[in-house]
């Protein structure tokens, strides 16, 4: 479904991604772990061209993208993204947040988009919040709305960029629950996270990144119980699992 060839990203003189190769199958849940500054988030953002790769190619559903001059808007329609900082639109109600893109990008009617929105709100357990503004919601609620907003475009892949890192500890669970539901629905997901428990439980494949490279990859069992690379061992030895 997604193929990445020889992806490089430089910020000035700093090489953040150093030749990434990856293939993601439909329905797969890929979890990317690694220390800060290892390029995890940058890699995720290169997948939908929020960050323009310096070199390399992303093939998504058979279409090749080499830079953001290709029709990346079509790519992004099919690739939902959830951010660490939620990035809900503060000047709109929850319902408007969710319906805006389907209405403007897909030209669906108000009725259609609202039906979609209420179905999704129910799915994330927040149907009573349709007419509230984002700043009246808790962090966990905001992130669940952000997930619903991305799902409203009915994407084929969901990208999660540290979705629980900005949350108070007691709210992490509710967001992970929504994500687990997505996994059981068969959604293809790429998740950058520090939640090792979550990675272990729902990941089909774990990628360990360090210094812009995928250092190790394998099933959660392989990576967590029997890491091969010394950097992986070192990292996993320092984090709580």
């Amino acid at each position: 479904m997604i193929q990445v060839f020889d992806l490089y990203k430089d910020f000035g003189k700093l090489r953040v991604l150093n030749g990434i190769e990856l293939k993601i199958e439909p329905g797969e849940v890929v979890v990317i772990i690694g220390p800060s500054g290892s390029g995890k988030s940058t890699f995720l953002r290169c997948l939908n061209f929020l960050e323009e790769p310096t070199a390399g190619e992303v093939i998504f559903e058979g279409v090749s993208f080499k830079n953001s001059k290709n029709d990346v808007n079509r790519l992004r329609e099919k690739m939902g993204m959830v951010f660490q900082q939620f990035n809900l639109f503060p000047h709109m109600t929850v319902l408007e947040n969710i319906t805006l893109a389907p209405r403007k990008v897909k030209n669906l009617s108000k009725k259609e988009t609202e039906d979609i929105a209420f179905t999704l709100l129910k799915r994330v357990g927040l149907e009573d919040k349709a007419y509230t503004y984002p700043n009246q919601l808790s962090g966990g609620q905001k992130q669940r709305i952000a997930i619903a907003r991305a799902l409203a475009m009915s994407p084929d892949v969901m990208l999660f960029d540290e979705p629980t890192s900005a949350l108070d500890p007691e709210m992490v669970g509710e967001v992970l629950d929504v994500m687990k539901k997505l996994v059981s629905d068969g959604m293809t997901m790429v998740v950058v996270t520090h939640e090792m428990g979550f990675a272990k439980e729902v990941g089909d494949r774990i990628l360990f990144m360090d210094e812009g490279k995928i250092v190790e990859e394998g099933s959660p069992k392989e990576v967590f119980s029997n890491p091969k690379h010394p950097r992986t061992k070192d990292f996993l030895g320092k984090v709580l699992i």
Binding site: N73, E77, G80, Q85, F89, L100, V105, Y133, N135
Partner: protein, 220 residues
């Protein structure tokens, strides 16, 4: 203070006020339209548009409006070999001046919006233009309204400068009344009261607008 001359001269103040309002009205409209253009130019990646806009803004901000007024008054008709009404030239000069300040206000407003907003919009498949019009500009507008209102008020007051090119605005007519009645002081009080009434009403109006726009902002 004796205001009895008003019986005879109130028409001067009235007509002058109309002209001042007219110039301010069109000055604000064209100032904002041009200001948006200059702001977008300065934010664009095109180096030519960017430097042109930057140079324009610096020059306007760095020269007195009085000089700009004379340059437009004497220079513009010569430059494009066309005759203009004095009033038109006055409006052009005021608008060109205001555009530079409005451009900086709008640019700052757009830059003040968290970059995550644009990213979220783009990640949903919206084009840059859709994201700008639906997400960035509405939020920016709300943020810049106080600064923009301030600029409008400045414009109304500064429009008095058109009297130097002989436009019969409130300031010019006030001077006429001062001369005709041999009263150097009290007509100025009348003019000040009129200017203040205009700017104060505008500032109240903008205050109401601002409160309406902030409706969704109450936080927990």
């Amino acid at each position: 203070m004796d205001f009895s001359y008003l019986q005879k001269y109130y028409g001067f103040f009235l007509n002058g006020t109309m002209i001042t309002l007219l110039i301010s009205f069109f000055g604000v409209i064209f100032g904002v339209l041009l200001g948006v253009v200059f702001a977008l130019m300065k934010l664009s990646k095109n180096i030519i548009l960017k430097s042109f806009s930057a140079a324009y803004i610096e020059i306007i901000r760095g020269t007195p409006i009085m000089v700009q007024m004379f340059i437009v008054y004497y220079g513009l008709p010569r430059l494009i070999r066309m005759d203009f009404e004095d009033l038109t030239l006055g409006i052009i000069a005021v608008s060109l001046n205001s555009a530079a300040y409005v451009a900086e206000i709008i640019r700052a407003g757009i830059l003040s919006i968290d970059k995550g907003q644009m990213e979220a919009a783009r990640s949903l498949g919206m084009s840059h233009k859709l994201a700008m019009t639906n997400i960035i500009i509405p939020q920016a507008f709300k943020n810049i309204l106080p600064a923009l209102g301030n600029e409008f008020i400045t414009l109304i007051k500064e429009s008095a400068i058109v009297s130097i090119i002989g436009i019969h605005d409130l300031m010019y007519n006030t001077d006429t009344v001062r001369g005709n009645t041999f009263r150097p002081f009290s007509p100025l009080v009348v003019a000040a009261a009129i200017y203040f009434t205009i700017t104060f009403s505008l500032s109240k109006l903008l205050g109401i607008m601002e409160r309406r726009l902030r409706a969704g902002d109450s936080s927990i």
